[in-house]
C-alpha cells in the first residue's frame, strides 16, 4: 500500500484494488462502507471529546484559570472521564413525556451531524462522497437538526424546554438563510457546488483573498450565522442557562444528553469546516499566484495539517465570541438576521455577481 501524507488517493485506491481483487463488488462495497463508518465513528468520538477539552482550556484562558488539570497530564483525560460518567448515568424519562419522540430526538440530532460530516474532505483523496451538489447537501442536511431540537423541547413535558425549543426553531430557521446566502455568494464566485471543485478553484489563492470585499463580507456573515446555527453563545438562546436552566435538553440525562452535547461540537466542526472549505481553501496550502518559491515551500506542509489548522482557527474564533459576549435577546436575534444580515447578504450577492461578471477579482 502506498502511503503518502500529501495525497491519500493512492492509499484509498490501493485498498479498493486489493479488496476487489479477491472479493465480489458487493462484498467490497460492504467492507468499504464498514471501514468508513467505523472511521467516522472514531473520528466523531475522538474529535468531539477533543473539542470539549479544547473549549474548556480556551474558556479557562479567557477567564484566567487553568481549566482541567487533575485527570491525566494537563487534564487530558478529563473529558474521557466525564464521558464515562455520562455513559453510566441513569436515563430518566419525565412523567407524561411523549416517549417515542423524546427518545427519538437525540438520535435525529446526532445522525444529522454524522451525515453532514460525510462530504467534508480532510485532505486530498480523504473524502467519502464528492457530490456535484456538496455544499447544498451540507446546508440541507444540517437543517434537519432543528427537528430534533424541536422534538426534544416539545416531548419533554417541561415548560422551559418548550420555550427553548421554540426559540431555537425561530433562530435556526432564520439563520439558515444567512448561511445559505453566504455560501451562494461564494458558489457564484466558484462556479460550482462540488466541494472538490471549490477547493481546486483555490489553487492559486484562497477565495477570501481572491474574492476580496464581497468574500470577506460573506465570511463574516457566515461565521456569525454559523455560530447562531450551532446554538452557541452569544446566540445560545435555546439553552440560555440563566433564563431557561438548560433549555431544550433540560430533561435529558446520561447518554442522551451526551448525544446533544456531542452533536453541538460536531456541528461546530462542520460550520468551521465549511468556512474553511469555502473561504480558506480547505486542505489547499496557502498559495499566492505567481510566487513559485513561496508556493512550493507551502506545499511541503501536508493538506491534512492545513485543513485542521484552519478549522481550529475558525473554531477558536467562535469560542472567542462565546466567552466574551453577553447573550442576545430573542427579538434582537431575529432583528439581527432579518434587518441586517439578510439585506447585507442580498446586496453582497449582487456585488459578487458584478465582481465575477467584470472579472474584478484577483
Amino acid at each position: 500500500m502506498a502511503f503518502n501524507i500529501y495525497d491519500f488517493t493512492p492509499l484509498t485506491k490501493s485498498i479498493h484494488d486489493s479488496l476487489s481483487a479477491s472479493l465480489s463488488p458487493t462484498a467490497t462495497l460492504a467492507i468499504e462502507w464498514t471501514i468508513v463508518g467505523v472511521l467516522y465513528l472514531l473520528f466523531v468520538a475522538v474529535f468531539g471529546l477533543f473539542l470539549v477539552y479544547a473549549e474548556r482550556k480556551v474558556c479557562a484562558a479567557f477567564q484566567q484559570r487553568l481549566g482541567p488539570m487533575r485527570v491525566g497530564p494537563w487534564g487530558l483525560l478529563q473529558t474521557i472521564a466525564d464521558f464515562i460518567k455520562l455513559l453510566m448515568k441513569e436515563l430518566i424519562t419525565p412523567k407524561r413525556a411523549d416517549k417515542l419522540l423524546y427518545n427519538l430526538a437525540p438520535f435525529i440530532v446526532i445522525i444529522v451531524a454524522f451525515v453532514s460530516i460525510s462530504v467534508i474532505p480532510f485532505a486530498p483523496g480523504l473524502v467519502s462522497f464528492d457530490f456535484d451538489i456538496g455544499v447544498f447537501f451540507v446546508t440541507s442536511v444540517s437543517s434537519i437538526g432543528v427537528i430534533g431540537v424541536l422534538l426534544a423541547g416539545w416531548s419533554s413535558n417541561n415548560k422551559y424546554s418548550l420555550i427553548g425549543a421554540m426559540r431555537s426553531g425561530a433562530q435556526i430557521v432564520s439563520y439558515e438563510l444567512s448561511v445559505g446566502l453566504a455560501l451562494i455568494t461564494m458558489i457564484v464566485f466558484a462556479g460550482t457546488m462540488q466541494i472538490s471543485g471549490i477547493i481546486e478553484g483555490q489553487r492559486d489563492m484562497w477565495f477570501i483573498f481572491k474574492g476580496h470585499i464581497p468574500a470577506v463580507i460573506a465570511f463574516i456573515v457566515f461565521v456569525i450565522a454559523g455560530t447562531a446555527e450551532t446554538n452557541r453563545g452569544p446566540f445560545d438562546l435555546a439553552e440560555a442557562e440563566s433564563e431557561l436552566t438548560a433549555g431544550f435538553h433540560t430533561e435529558y440525562s446520561g447518554i442522551k444528553f451526551a448525544f446533544f452535547f456531542l452533536a453541538e461540537y460536531i456541528n461546530l466542526f462542520i460550520v468551521a469546516a465549511m468556512a474553511t472549505i469555502v473561504f480558506l481553501g480547505g486542505w489547499m496550502p496557502l498559495h499566492f499566484g505567481e510566487f513559485e518559491a513561496f508556493n512550493n515551500v507551502m506545499d511541503l506542509i501536508p493538506g491534512l495539517f492545513w485543513f485542521f489548522m484552519k478549522v481550529f482557527f475558525v473554531i477558536f474564533l467562535m469560542m472567542w465570541f462565546k466567552w466574551t459576549f453577553p447573550r442576545l435577546r430573542v427579538d434582537q436575534i431575529l432583528n439581527l438576521e432579518w434587518k441586517y444580515l439578510l439585506p447585507i447578504n442580498l446586496m453582497n450577492i449582487i456585488l459578487m455577481t458584478l465582481v465575477v461578471l467584470f472579472g474584478l477579482h484577483f
Partner: protein, 377 residues
C-alpha cells in the same frame, strides 16, 4: 337518550390556561431560593409573583432571647454580602440607646470596612449580573478582585464573609499592622482593574442593547415601593443614608451621592460601577488619617437598654438597612425589626418587568441585586 345540541362558544367563553412558569426556588438566575411565579404569553412576561420564605430563619424572633451584645453576630447571616454593615447598624442602634460615645478610631475603621464591603458586594453583583446576561467571563474577573478584599478582612478579623467585626462600643479587634498598606495596595490595583470591567461589559454593544431603556422604574414608583440604594438612586430618588443621616466617619469625608435619571437597567448597572470608584475615594480620604487611641469602649456583657423605641439606618450595598428596637428595659429586646433593602426592592420587579421578555426579567432582577436571606430573614 339525551338530545344532541350544538354549542358555540364565543371567544370570551373559551377558557385557556395561563402559561405559568415557576422560576425557582432552584433556578440559576434567582441567586438563591427565591421563587417567581411568572405568567407568560410566549416570551412576554405578563405577571411576576414573588414567593418568598424558603430560607426564612426567624432571626427577628431569635433576637428576642439574646442580649444586645449577642445580636450583631446573628445579623451577619441576613445580608451576607453586607455583614459588616448589618453588624454596624445594630451596634449603632445600641450605642444610640445607651448614649455611648464610640472612639474616633473605631468610627474610622468601621467606615473603611463599610466601603470595602460595598466594593466587594458590588464586585460579586457584577460577576453574577454578567452571568445573568450570558457573559460568563465576568464571573472570574469579579471574583479575582474580590479575593483581595476578603484577604484584607481575613487578616484583621479572621473572617472573610460573616465578619462579626462591629460590636456595640466599637470594633472587636484593632486593625492588623498591615491593614493600611494592604488597603492602599488594593486601591491602587483596583483602580487599574475597574476600567477593565467597563471595557468587558459596559462598552459591549450587545450589552447596551440588552439594558438601555429596559425595565424603567420611575422616581414615583421607586418612592412608593421604598426602593433604596443604587436601584432607587438610578431612578433619581436621593436616598443615600450616608448623606442624609451621616453615621460613623461619614461626616468627615467628602463624596458625591451618585444619581441617575433614567431608572433603566443600564443606569442601575452603571451606577454601581461608579459607586465603586466613589467608595475608593472615601477609603483614600480615611486610610491615612485613622486616629490613634482605643478601638472600642468597654461594654458590659449584659446591658439593659432604657425603655423606649430606637431606630438606626445604614446604607448597605443594596440600600437602606434599618434596625428598629423596642425595649422594655430588660436585657433582651421586646421586639426587633429589621428593615431590609432587598425585601422592598424585590416587590418593585412585578411592575417594571410586565410586558418585557423573559430575558429582560432576568436582567431586571439582576440589577436589583437581590440577596435572598436578606429578604427572608
Amino acid at each position: 337518550m339525551a338530545e344532541y345540541k350544538e354549542v358555540y362558544l364565543t371567544s370570551d367563553e373559551i377558557k385557556t390556561d395561563d402559561y405559568l412558569v415557576n422560576m425557582g426556588p432552584q433556578h440559576p438566575s434567582t441567586h438563591g431560593v427565591l421563587r417567581l411565579l411568572v405568567k407568560l404569553e410566549g416570551e412576554k412576561v405578563l405577571n411576576v409573583q414573588p414567593h418568598i420564605g424558603y430560607i426564612h430563619s426567624g432571626i427577628e424572633k431569635m433576637t428576642e432571647s439574646l442580649t444586645y451584645i449577642q445580636i450583631p453576630h446573628l445579623t451577619d447571616r441576613m445580608d451576607y454580602l453586607a455583614a459588616h454593615m448589618n453588624n454596624e447598624a445594630v451596634s449603632l442602634c445600641v450605642e444610640k440607646a445607651l448614649q455611648v460615645e464610640v472612639p474616633e478610631r473605631a468610627k474610622y475603621i468601621r467606615t473603611i470596612f463599610d466601603e470595602l464591603q460595598r466594593i466587594a458586594s458590588h464586585q460579586l453583583w457584577w460577576c453574577a449580573f454578567g452571568m445573568d446576561m450570558g457573559a460568563l467571563t465576568t464571573f472570574f474577573y469579579g471574583l479575582r478582585d474580590r479575593e483581595d478584599i476578603l484577604d484584607i478582612f481575613e487578616e484583621t478579623c479572621g473572617a472573610r464573609l460573616t465578619l462579626n467585626y462591629s460590636i456595640p462600643g466599637g470594633v472587636m479587634f484593632d486593625i492588623h499592622p498591615n491593614f493600611q498598606r494592604d488597603v492602599k495596595a488594593f486601591i491602587k490595583k483596583f483602580r487599574a482593574k475597574l476600567p477593565e470591567y467597563e471595557r468587558l461589559l459596559t462598552g459591549n454593544v450587545i450589552f447596551r442593547e440588552r439594558t438601555k431603556g429596559v425595565g424603567i422604574l420611575s422616581k414615583e414608583e421607586a418612592i412608593a415601593y421604598g426602593v433604596t440604594g443604587p436601584s432607587g438612586r438610578a431612578s433619581g430618588f436621593s436616598c443615600d443614608i450616608r448623606k442624609k443621616q451621616p453615621y460613623s466617619a461619614y461626616p468627615y469625608v467628602k463624596f458625591n451621592e451618585i444619581m441617575g435619571t433614567d431608572g433603566d437597567t443600564f443606569t442601575r448597572y452603571h451606577l454601581r460601577i461608579l459607586e465603586m470608584f466613589e467608595s475608593m475615594d472615601i477609603i483614600e480620604q480615611l486610610i491615612d488619617n485613622i486616629p490613634e487611641g482605643d478601638y472600642a469602649v468597654k461594654m458590659k456583657g449584659v446591658t439593659k437598654l432604657p425603655e423606649g423605641e430606637y431606630y438606626q439606618r445604614v446604607e448597605t450595598g443594596r440600600g437602606e438597612f434599618g434596625v428598629y428596637v423596642i425595649s422594655d428595659g430588660k436585657k433582651n429586646p421586646y421586639r426587633m425589626k429589621f428593615r431590609s433593602p432587598g425585601f422592598s426592592n424585590l416587590f418593585a420587579i412585578n411592575n417594571i418587568a410586565k410586558g418585557w421578555k423573559i430575558a429582560d426579567l432576568v436582567a431586571i432582577m439582576g440589577t436589583f441585586d437581590l440577596v435572598i436571606p436578606d429578604i427572608d430573614r
